[in-house]
Amino acid sequence: MHKVVVILRKEFSEIVQQRILLFSILLPPLLFVVIPLFFLQLGGNGSRASTLKVPSLQGLTVNEYRQGLVGTEFSNIYILLSMIVPSIIAAYSIIGEKTNRTLEPLLATPVRRWQLLAGKILAALLPAVLVTWISGGLFIVELAILTDANVVSHVATPGWLILFLAGTPLLGLIAVAVMTAISSRVNDTRTAQQLSVWAVVPIIGIVLGELSGQFELTALVAVITSLILVPLAALLTWGAAQLFQRETILTRWK
């Protein structure tokens, strides 16, 4: 475990030295906290609200529904955020090692494959989960302050909270595993990030499904979703581990 900590410390030391990377990690959550402020202040006539039937917002007044709709749209972005941020970090971390040719000296040390992979995964996952939870928490506080009394409980539903707290680390893990696979084939962080966007598409589909009233993110749906994510994350992490073998990295990675 000591080596995982050593790798983590090294990764964090490198992250804080990269302004563009820091900017990429912190800017999206910051924007998603600030932008709802404007939408919530804008007001509106509720006409759009009346055409959409978001199940979790039923029973609200027209104004509350409008506020709740803004809240629901943005609350789902925090779920997506948990995939975007670790992808960015993992791309820099793994492709950075490749392009700087630092992987071979690192692989020559008596580090176990799981230690190296765990260090890399945690270095991407921990900051991602942290910024997701902090920004999501700030967003909920913001809603509580700026919206009518009933709205927060209709946005931060048990289903959303379960997915936000239990699902985001799993989604982050999936994103890192996908990025590891992509990183084994490409040598450019931007290309890797562009390819990894496809991993977010299923989540966008779920978000749109909820907003269009196709289903409600109840606690049961969130638990089932999280339970599906567990084996999926495990499977993809196992796949990433297969690609993260010394022999494979040195002879097959491009």
Binding site: K10, S13, E14, N100, R101, L103, A108, P110, E247, T251
Partner: protein, 314 residues
């Protein structure tokens, strides 16, 4: 005791045989030069011996540990300077070395001590807090060498340690390798720089997928070109060819200008009689010296012979 022993070590990539049946023994404390053209399989060999990739066939024992059975112990026992330094540019020299010291399981206090020792030894102590991204090529190479030695490995692999360095930086690195040799360390040196190999290595292997020749630099020269003596005389040397040929132990004589080149089986023992015979025949001798062939000539001859043999077999 041997630091490295390989038996029929082979590695293929699909139909390409990168390393073919390498059998080799390198005694402890030897600086071994591994010479070969680009694409000869030198890096593949180093990667196998440092437990980075597995052989397709054959086996090896490195620092007393069997390859494939005790790979972590091999990684702990060897240090490696890869073809490119591979340093973390955004971290300082100190952070780079400390990270690797910890990866090699050095306890915290010893890690700091070792990092300081090697930074001082390689004259990088004053730049310890600077980011490596701002270092010159020579400084980066020195730092990478320090990284390979931090954990005091039993065997150190140095892949082209002076490649791309200016003459001054290359000299610093060569001097450092000499210091390591004086400490009795085993060094496996991969290089294209033949004078460097001649200067540093106790044992040399010429390699091109297969081991073409193994020996000390002197053995390689003698094995390929034979031993001999050059006698510089006053006037035209051709006049003394017959006097030299008359000696039973002389294997061949040529003359060029004022120099006689004489092939001998044992120059050290036969030179006195040769000199006496030439003087008695009336030659005025200016100097007697061993026939010298550079390692470069040896290397080129061997590689060219292999190339021709391969062409004939096809």
């Amino acid at each position: 005791m041997n630091a490295i022993e390989t038996t029929h070590l082979t590695r293929t990539f699909g139909s390409l045989v990168a390393v073919d049946d390498l059998t080799l023994a390198i005694p402890e404390g030897t600086v071994f030069g591994f010479l070969g053209p680009n694409g000869a399989g030198k890096t593949t060999t180093v990667r196998m011996l440092s437990a980075l990739i597995a052989p397709t066939r054959g086996n090896a024992v490195v620092a007393g540990h069997r390859l494939g059975e005790d790979n972590d112990a091999i990684r702990q026992a060897v240090g490696i300077l890869t073809e490119t330094p591979g340093l973390y540019d955004r971290l300082s020299a100190w952070q780079n070395l400390l990270f690797f010291a910890e990866m090699y399981d050095l306890p915290a206090k010893r890690a700091s001590t070792q990092v300081e020792r090697y930074l001082r030894l390689l004259d990088l102590w004053d730049r310890r807090n600077d980011k490596v991204g701002g270092f010159s090529k020579g400084m980066r190479q020195k730092l990478a060498i320090a990284r390979a030695l931090l954990h005091e490995p039993k065997v150190t692999f140095l892949d082209e340690p002076t490649s791309g360095l200016d003459p001054e930086a290359a000299r610093v690195v060569r001097d450092f390798i000499k210091e390591l040799r004086a400490e009795g360390r085993t060094i496996f040196l991969t290089t294209h720089n033949l004078p460097e190999a001649d200067e540093l290595c106790d044992l040399i292997g010429v390699f091109r997928s297969q081991l073409l020749r193994l020996g000390t630099p002197a053995q390689l020269r003698a094995g390929l070109f034979g031993a001999g003596t050059q006698v510089r005389v006053v006037g035209d040397a051709a006049r003394w060819i017959e006097a030299a040929r008359a000696l039973p132990f002389v294997q061949g004589v040529t003359a060029e200008g004022g120099t006689l080149s004489i092939s001998l089986a044992h120059p050290d023992e036969q030179n006195p009689e040769l000199v006496r015979a030439l003087v008695e025949a009336g030659a005025h001798i200016r100097a007697v010296e061993p026939t010298s062939h550079s390692l470069e000539e040896v290397y080129l001859e061997l590689v060219e012979n292999t190339r021709q043999a391969a062409a004939v077999s096809h």
